[in-house]
């Protein structure tokens, strides 16, 4: 394998992995902040319990999001130095701004939030989580603006002498039509994940509570490594979990509507600026007018010919152009047009990959939303979850929108190929020329092993803290004349 192929695989592995933690971070940060707000405003204990419980899970997830994010920033220079030279004038600015305006906000105020429960007034402490959450929401904008430049370069000029793209209009970069539709699409997708996680975890506790008999008084806490649990009384716990299911499922449903609306707008922008990606998403070889949407197509293994399919007439025309009879360009016609512009070569991405990831993105997202709706319906008016099938369903609930995020990004990034920056820089031209196969192989091997190990540690830790349930709120006893101990300590 060439250094280029390896560098691409490494980018794919590290980015997809990083992006397991990002939607959780953004979604949960805002939800935890909202629940803490509910506690500060109503004073109800259940909200405090939920804030602490989900706050802990949020932090376990956040740690991995941060560390895998540093790799992303370094990787551009390490493996893609020619790319960095080519776009640095444009791409570097949003990256630097992301760190300066968003990451500092996120990390600094989260630090105070974690340790500040007994050091700050209730309202100031609440402001800390909101500041951290706004950092996460803001960071998404900058990095998506940078990515959108790669999909649809705007606000630049090509400097022949230096062989690089140079910024001419920063506002144009920040208001790229692609980022304007991608940002809401991504944020709503994050809230789908956060909401589904809240609902899934709380739903599981309700399900477990409904199936296990209430323990006899006098039963001690289980041995092992679980924290000694003098947790809240069963009625409070049940009320807390019910609220979390409701908050989570409603967030999931509202966000999924947002994802659909913004996704629809995104399709139209994509048709204009990256028609090849739209054609590839549909495996549409010939230009059609009107174009029908293929729900499912079985083609020959090389993706060149269709064997069997189910189609919805006019739907693709609508998705792509907003009219029922709009013309949608096919891969062959686009290939000819691109050859005329850019010279000989193949300008189509991997068609089966784009076709299937596009469908899986939609299917997984919709399945998550439907499951959320069903959970909300099944718990209405104090109804219990008892059926044993709820276990796999509740485990699947957060994973569906999470994996929908992953395949969505695989679609959008592989759909841009063979370009690194659409129309400007082919992917092969972006790799570091001096980096050897051995070097990339080493780093890819190390990251894959390290990330795999961390995934095991992280998931097991998550499950442990999910199982442990709501925390104990009784304060520690303080000896006279001593400072109160830290409420939280590493």
């Amino acid at each position: 394998m060439s250094a280029e192929t390896l560098a691409r695989w490494q980018f794919a592995i590290t980015t997809v992995y990083h992006f397991f933690f990002v939607p959780m971070t953004i979604g949960l940060a805002v939800l935890v902040a909202a629940i803490q707000t509910a506690w500060v405003r109503t004073g109800q204990e259940k909200y405090l319990l939920l804030t602490k419980f989900f706050g802990k899970l949020f932090l376990i997830n956040f740690a991995l999001g941060v560390v895998t994010g540093i790799v992303q920033e370094f990787q551009f220079g390490m493996n893609w130095s020619e790319y960095s030279r080519f776009v640095g004038d444009i791409f570097g600015a949003p990256l630097a701004l992301e760190a300066l305006l968003a990451f500092f906000l996120e990390s600094t105020f989260l630090g105070i939030w974690i340790f500040g429960w007994d050091r700050l007034s209730q309202k100031v402490h609440l402001a800390m989580i909101w500041l951290a959450a706004s950092g996460t929401v803001l960071s998404a904008y900058f990095i998506l603006a940078a990515n959108s430049f790669m999909q649809n370069p705007v606000g630049f000029t090509f400097n022949e002498a230096r062989g690089r793209a140079e910024l001419t209009d920063f506002v144009a970069v920040l208001t790229n039509p692609v980022v304007l539709v991608t940002y809401p699409h991504q944020l709503f997708a994050c809230f789908m994940v956060g909401g589904a996680f809240l609902a899934g975890v709380a739903g599981w506790h309700l399900w477990r509570g409904a199936r296990t008999p209430v323990p006899e008084p006098g039963d001690g806490p289980g041995s092992g490594d679980e924290q000694p649990s003098t947790s809240p009384d069963p009625a409070t716990a049940r009320a807390a979990w019910r609220s979390a299911v409701k908050i989570g499922a409603v967030t999931l449903l509202v966000a999924s509507v947002g994802v659909m609306v913004s996704g629809d707008l995104q399709g139209k922008v994509m048709t204009q600026v990256q028609p090849m990606k739209m054609a590839a998403a549909e495996a549409l070889y010939e230009t059609e007018q009107p174009a029908s949407f293929s729900v499912i197509t079985i083609g020959t293994p090389d993706g060149q010919r269709e064997l069997w399919s189910i189609k919805v007439p006019h739907l693709l025309s609508y998705l792509a152009t907003g009219t029922l009879d709009g013309q949608v360009q096919g891969i062959r016609q686009l290939q000819e047009a691109y050859e005329a512009t850019y010279g000989p070569g193949s300008y189509a991405p991997n068609i089966p990959l784009t076709y299937w990831t596009f469908r899986w993105m939609i299917a997984l997202g919709m399945a998550g939303a439907l499951l959320g709706a069903y959970l909300l319906w099944s718990t209405r008016g104090g109804r219990e979850l008892r059926h044993k099938l709820w276990l796999p369903l509740l485990v699947a609930l957060p994973l569906l929108p999470l994996f929908s995020n992953s395949v969505g990004w695989i679609f959008t990034e592989t759909g841009r190929q063979p370009w690194l920056v659409f129309g400007l820089l082919p992917t092969a031209a972006g790799v570091s020329p001096g980096t050897t196969v051995a070097e990339v192989l080493t780093s890819m091997g190390i990251f894959t092993l390290l990330y795999g190990g961390l995934a095991v540690v992280e998931v097991r830790l998550m499950l442990k803290y999910i199982r442990a349930g709501l925390p104990d709120l009784t304060p520690a006893t303080v000896d006279e004349g001593q400072d109160a101990p830290l409420e939280f300590a590493y």
């Binding site: 941060v66 020619e82 640095g88 600094t108 690089r164 490594d225 390290l450 961390l454």
Partner: protein, 341 residues
């Protein structure tokens, strides 16, 4: 002043901020077992940096992003050229942050021992390697006419760079010990104070040797001055430490690190990454930079945001200004009794 010069200074400030702040983080991590003899004490030590270490690391991310934005050629050559050292640093930074976050998440002896060992090793590695990287940056590395690094890995291991690595390692150890002395009370404070006095002497000797070597090779009037301030800062820190004035000692070690890196950046300027093959192939503030338009936008953003960031980070140190003692740690989070050591 030219914008490229402004950005050279700003990037220097970001790196200095990173090393002053994460420097004591690294020191605290390395000294976990030296200053904390049991589970409870180690928790005190690690929690001196608990609320801060995550925010401190953002200085690195910002320095990297700012280099990308302001000097793309520098970013590209540096990061692709120093591939393996940066890979090691990345791995260490990943493990370190996770280790600090996760060490107390299970009340199990083996779990905690492993993560604590990981904290120590993964703090030492970047403390050494950042020095090695900056030593090479100063010394000049093989860069060809296309601004590509052509030196390979072993070329980075040379006496000057290794000395620089040892200087950052010992300086961060001193800085970390002084920080622990400043942030704790009781037996840990005494131990940290005594350790700082010993390691500080070694750090001072190495720093003076490096400062002389650096100035003889790359020096000018102003770098002699800044290295003198750096050495003076460290000596002042040692004197203050001896009297138990940890606040001043911390100011001293911080000044030493800041002025030492200022010396390095002054010695570099106007180059950002000199070539050891041909001075014509040096990357400089002008041939490595972004356009004036990009730099102008970035200047505005930095001018407005940086003071705000510094202010709120300073506030976090104020919020958590109280010294920690062994009684700061709740009994119920410690390891079960027989396993406590």
């Amino acid at each position: 002043m030219e914008l490229t010069t402004v950005w050279f200074i700003l990037i220097a400030v970001l790196w200095i901020g990173y090393f002053v702040l994460e420097g004591f983080d690294f020191g605290v991590g390395m000294l976990l077992h030296v200053l904390g003899r049991d589970d409870r004490e180690r928790r005190v030590v690690v929690n001196t940096i608990g609320p801060h270490f995550d925010g401190n690391e953002v200085w690195l991310i910002t320095a990297g992003g700012a280099t990308f934005a302001a000097f793309p050629e520098w970013y590209a050559t540096l990061f692709s050229g120093f591939y393996l050292p940066l890979l090691l640093i990345l791995v260490a930074l990943i493990i370190r942050l996770v280790a600090i976050d996760y060490r107390s998440k299970r009340r199990e002896l083996a779990w905690r021992q492993r993560w604590d060992l990981a904290i120590t090793v993964s703090s030492a590695l970047p403390a050494l390697l950042w020095g090695v990287a900056f030593g090479n940056l100063l010394r000049g590395v093989p860069i060809d006419a296309d601004f590509e690094y052509v030196g390979g890995f072993w070329n980075l291991l040379n006496p000057f760079a290794l000395l620089t690595g040892l200087v950052t390692l010992t300086l961060f150890l001193t800085h970390g010990a002084v920080f622990v002395a400043l942030k704790t009370d009781g037996v840990i404070r005494e131990r940290a104070n005594a350790f700082a006095a010993r390691i500080g002497v070694l750090a001072a000797v190495l720093t003076v040797v490096l400062a002389l070597w650096l100035n003889l090779r790359h020096g000018s009037g102003v770098t002699y001055l800044t290295s003198a301030v750096a050495a003076g800062g460290l000596l002042g820190a040692l004197a203050a430490n001896r009297r138990g004035r940890e606040g001043w000692a911390f100011v001293g070690t911080a000044a030493c690190i800041a002025f030492l890196f200022a010396t390095a950046f002054l010695a570099l300027f106007p180059d950002v990454m000199p070539s050891s093959l041909d001075p014509a192939w040096n990357l400089t503030t002008s041939n490595a930079s972004s356009t004036p338009y990009t730099l102008t936008i970035m200047t505005w953003a930095a001018a407005i945001a940086t003071p705000v960031v510094v202010a709120y980070q300073a506030w976090t140190y104020w919020v958590f200004r109280r010294r920690l003692t062994v009684s700061s740690i709740r009994d119920d989070v410690l390891l079960p009794d027989p396993a406590r050591r």
